[in-house]
């Protein structure tokens, strides 16, 4: 009997891994199937749009496109961390407004006041981190769903920005070097995209090479097991939200620099593109699965889509509806492989 059992054990895995999957190329493809699919989709879009409008495939438009992708990508790095633990952060736009407003008011601006120099950056990012910490603290300690906490924090952030804004005229950045920084080209790429890539690489390194990063994946996979293994679940979650808030703070600074001025609505519309981009990039809303490479591809894919639609002459009146529809279709395509008759989605 033992002999028969041995036979069963050794033959089963062998037959599973036999064939194509066993080759180096096969295992590479099956391991990176989702990433390759995203790159394929991106290539298809590029082909279509270059045929529709020759202006699409120019260096100028590529730089323009990546300039558009910079801000959403920064935000998406924070969103990826939050979604990896199975939560959601809707407060992004509010946090960006508050941080951006603080940044401009503390820098040299048309309203006068003191120029705090580097401290403007520090304070803006700290405001983001503080709001993020508040999200995480309320979420974990009061046990309110992150969806609701961050929805509220969105408006808290907007409110803080509005109060700081007051009733005076819009504060413009005075320093021209600063207000044109985001779109300046270095190494052939716009600065804000380079910054976004640096943030994404840092995010990827944290996920791969730190205990905190691995704990994030573990908590997202199964919180109860994580707790049973002695991981500090609550602390991990709070740090995730704190980091996401700090990243939103950075995004708020970049957004005001791009505008050259501060305005409570400076961040409007950013949430709409980032969360779908993260999901299309393969990060599961259920948590535990995904990463930064997919997020970068997801953001570039959606930005390409928006950019291409404009260049293809889709009427601006239809633009919003078309973007929304295409988003839904893209999400369906992403989730297609996971559908099942008994799969429950809430």
């Amino acid at each position: 009997m033992t002999k028969a059992a041995d036979g069963a054990k050794t033959t089963a895995p062998a037959s599973q891994s036999a064939g194509f999957k066993n080759t180096a190329l096969g295992s590479f493809i099956s391991r990176y199937a989702e990433t390759l699919a995203l790159i394929g989709a991106l290539l298809v879009l590029v082909l279509i749009f270059s045929n529709l409008n020759p202006r699409f495939a120019t260096l100028e438009n590529l730089q323009n496109l990546l300039n558009q992708a910079g801000l959403p990508l920064i935000i998406a790095v924070g969103a990826t961390l939050v979604i990896l633990i199975g939560s959601i952060d809707l407060s992004v736009e509010g946090v960006m407004s508050a941080s951006g407003m603080a940044f401009v008011l503390m820098s040299a601006n048309t309203r006068g006041g003191t120029d705090f120099g580097i401290w403007a950056f520090v304070v803006a990012i700290t405001i983001g981190a503080a709001l993020g910490f508040a999200n995480g603290f309320i979420f974990t300690k009061v046990k309110v769903p992150s969806f609701i906490v961050t929805l509220g924090m969105w408006y808290v952030g907007l409110g803080i920005a509005t109060i700081m804004y007051g009733t005076e005229t819009m504060p413009f950045l005075v320093d021209d070097n600063l207000s044109t920084w985001a779109s300046q080209i270095n190494f052939g790429l716009p600065n804000n995209f380079l910054l976004a890539v640096v943030v994404a690489i840092l995010g990827a390194l944290v996920l791969r090479f730190t205990s905190f990063g691995r704990a994030t994946l573990a908590v997202g996979n199964n919180e109860e097991i994580a707790r049973g293994n002695g991981l500090k679940v609550t602390r991990t979650k709070i740090v995730v939200f704190l980091l996401a808030g700090a990243i939103s703070g950075v995004a708020g600074i970049v957004a005001t620099i791009q505008l050259g001025a501060a305005n409570p609505t400076v961040a409007a519309g950013n949430l709409f593109i980032t969360i779908p981009a993260v999901v299309i990039g393969g990060t599961s809303l259920a948590g535990g699965k995904g990463g930064m490479l997919g997020t970068v591809l997801g953001v570039v894919l959606l930005t390409t889509l928006n950019n291409g639609l404009i260049l293809s002459g889709v009427s601006p009146n239809f633009q919003t509806a078309v973007s929304g529809g295409i988003l839904v279709i893209a999400i369906i395509a992403t989730a297609w492989s996971q559908r099942g008759r008994l799969r429950i989605s809430k």
């Binding site: 089963a12 996979n221 293994n229």
Partner: protein
């Protein structure tokens, strides 16, 4: 208590451990000790206090009174981390691995990756994590790749990872580790169990084991000493050589095993089968499957993991797609088969994943009983709570569900009692035509298992056709009128037990 190895420091000494939940005394003055290199069998019915005791040993619960000593040192665990640090590792009943992480990381979780050499200032050293994991895996004789993602591994391999993690508890300290195996075999097929039993013998060479199982034969085979619990008390602590299986059953349950009489009827081909499949196919799951079950009969299907028998019965219930072939219910072919149609046609399905698919844990037990076939408990869209209570109470009394409280949320009952309620949900149908049972005894103690088996027989006698995927081959041979053997999605043999008398070895040969 045995006092034969006084010279060695015991790995674990429990002295008058007490634990209460409200007025319910879950543990009443439990005392025993475990010696180095000893395998202890811990048995008892669901609700006897085993789980509570294990949760105390693993730092999830804290004791009300009494002391715990590990390797001669007095300890008090405030959380799982402290239990792990003292050298106690657990292989959980339901696998508790991170499916999205590598084998090595899962193993490292228990050796305290936060502080050991594998990570410095919170930064991972993948090289040292992989190296430590290969070393741990080789001590249990496993050749798994530490870089593999756990979610990609088959079930047996995952259990190896669990064991490796459990024994890595005190890789540094050098003391004798204590590995708790909490019903690890309840979800394993027979031949997989043998792999596990080999591992137990390996662990015994360098550590001690607490082995929790409901299968008394396994306990007798693998343990040196057996501890029996009943109603929160330790009722026996015996060397395995001093006790028989029948005595253990009596100690656990409090009464002797009732013989389940089973008279087999020969096949009568004139009857229309209650359920019949002809040349049923589902790509990469099963192919060319044909069989039928008549009213009042039980067909057991046996097969190893990957035999396709689970997919087959789920397809018959409409829970999975059928690619081609015919399914006949009561002699009539059906089309576009879906669960609601199956339920309406009188088919019931007790799934193996009870908590996920079989019950709604947040609703009361009474609501669960009357959820699918409400009977008098509903008139049109309106529910009748009074009738519901009456029906549920009837089933609670018949099935001896404990605690006997129909208004408690089902999720708060123990596994065996949940299973009784899941059974009642289908048995409550006035015209149950086919009952599909996927591992109905999984994780059940012998007492609960007996109740469930009696109900299966009763349903059979009342005229239901039963399809049973049994936990063991013995169970299949004992319960079945007919046994089908499946391998790689095909039926390889069929035995009519009224005429044939196959041995478990005969079945096993056709399975692998």
């Amino acid at each position: 208590m045995t006092d034969k190895k006084v010279a060695k420091t015991p790995v674990l000494v429990l002295d008058h451990i007490e634990k209460s939940f409200g007025s319910n005394k879950a543990l009443k003055s439990i005392s025993f000790s475990i010696n180095p290199n000893e395998v202890i069998g811990l048995i008892g019915e669901n609700g006897a206090g085993k789980s509570t005791l294990l949760k105390i040993l693993t730092g999830i619960y804290q004791t009300d009174a009494g002391t715990i000593e590990v390797n001669g040192k007095k300890v008090k665990f405030r959380n799982p981390r402290e239990s792990v640090a003292s050298g106690i590792g657990v292989v959980h009943q339901e696998q508790s691995l991170f499916t999205n992480l590598t084998v090595a990381e899962n193993i490292a979780m228990n050796s305290g990756s936060g502080s050991s050499a594998s990570s410095k200032f919170g930064f991972y050293s993948w090289g040292s994590i992989f190296k430590t994991a290969s070393k741990t895996l080789s001590t249990i004789g496993s050749k798994l790749d530490p870089r593999a993602i756990v979610g990609d591994l088959p079930f047996v391999d995952r259990q190896m990872v669990e064991i490796a993690r459990a024994i890595s508890v005190n890789a540094g300290s050098g003391g004798c580790p204590l590995v708790i195996l909490d019903e690890p075999t309840s979800v394993l097929e027979r031949h997989e169990t043998e792999v596990l039993e080999r591992e137990i013998r390996k662990i015994k060479e360098f550590g001690s084991v607490i082995f929790v199982s409901h299968r008394l034969d396994e306990i007798m085979r693998n343990c040196d000493r057996i501890i029996v619990m009943r109603d929160g008390e330790l009722v026996a602590d015996r060397l395995v050589t001093d006790v028989t299986e029948a005595q253990l059953f009596k100690l656990m349950v409090g009464h002797e095993a009732r013989a389940v009489s089973h008279v087999r009827k020969g096949l009568d081909n004139s009857e229309v089968p209650a359920i019949e499949v002809r040349d049923l196919n589902r790509s990469s799951k099963f192919s060319g499957v044909s069989f039928s079950v008549r009213a009042g009969r039980l067909t057991a299907i046996v097969g190893a993991t990957g035999s396709g028998r689970e997919d087959l019965v789920r397809a018959i219930f409409g829970a999975e797609k059928i690619d081609s072939g015919t399914l006949l219910v009561g002699g009539k072919p059906v089309k576009n088969w879906r669960i609601p149609k199956a339920v309406k046609a009188g088919i019931g399905y007790v799934p193996s994943e009870r908590k996920v698919e079989g019950m709604i844990g947040g609703l009361t037990a009474a609501e669960n009983v009357t959820f699918t076939h409400p009977g008098k408990a509903a008139v049109g869209p309106f529910l009748i709570p009074k009738a519901r209570k009456k029906i549920a109470q009837g089933w609670f009394d018949t099935l001896d569900v404990r605690p006997n409280d129909i208004s408690q949320e089902l999720g708060r009952f123990s596994g065996g009692n949940q299973q009784k309620v899941v059974m009642a949900k289908w048995l409550n149908s006035p015209d149950l035509r086919v009952l599909i049972l996927d591992h109905p005894l999984r994780g059940l103690d012998p007492g609960a298992a007996q109740t469930v088996n009696e109900q299966i027989k009763l349903a059979c006698e009342k005229g239901a056709a039963i399809i049973l995927l049994a936990d063991t081959l013995e169970e299949a041979l004992e319960m079945g009128d007919e046994v089908l053997v499946m391998r790689d999605g095909e039926v390889t043999s069929a035995f009519d037990l009224a005429k044939d008398n196959p041995s478990t070895l005969d079945l096993l040969e056709r399975m692998v």
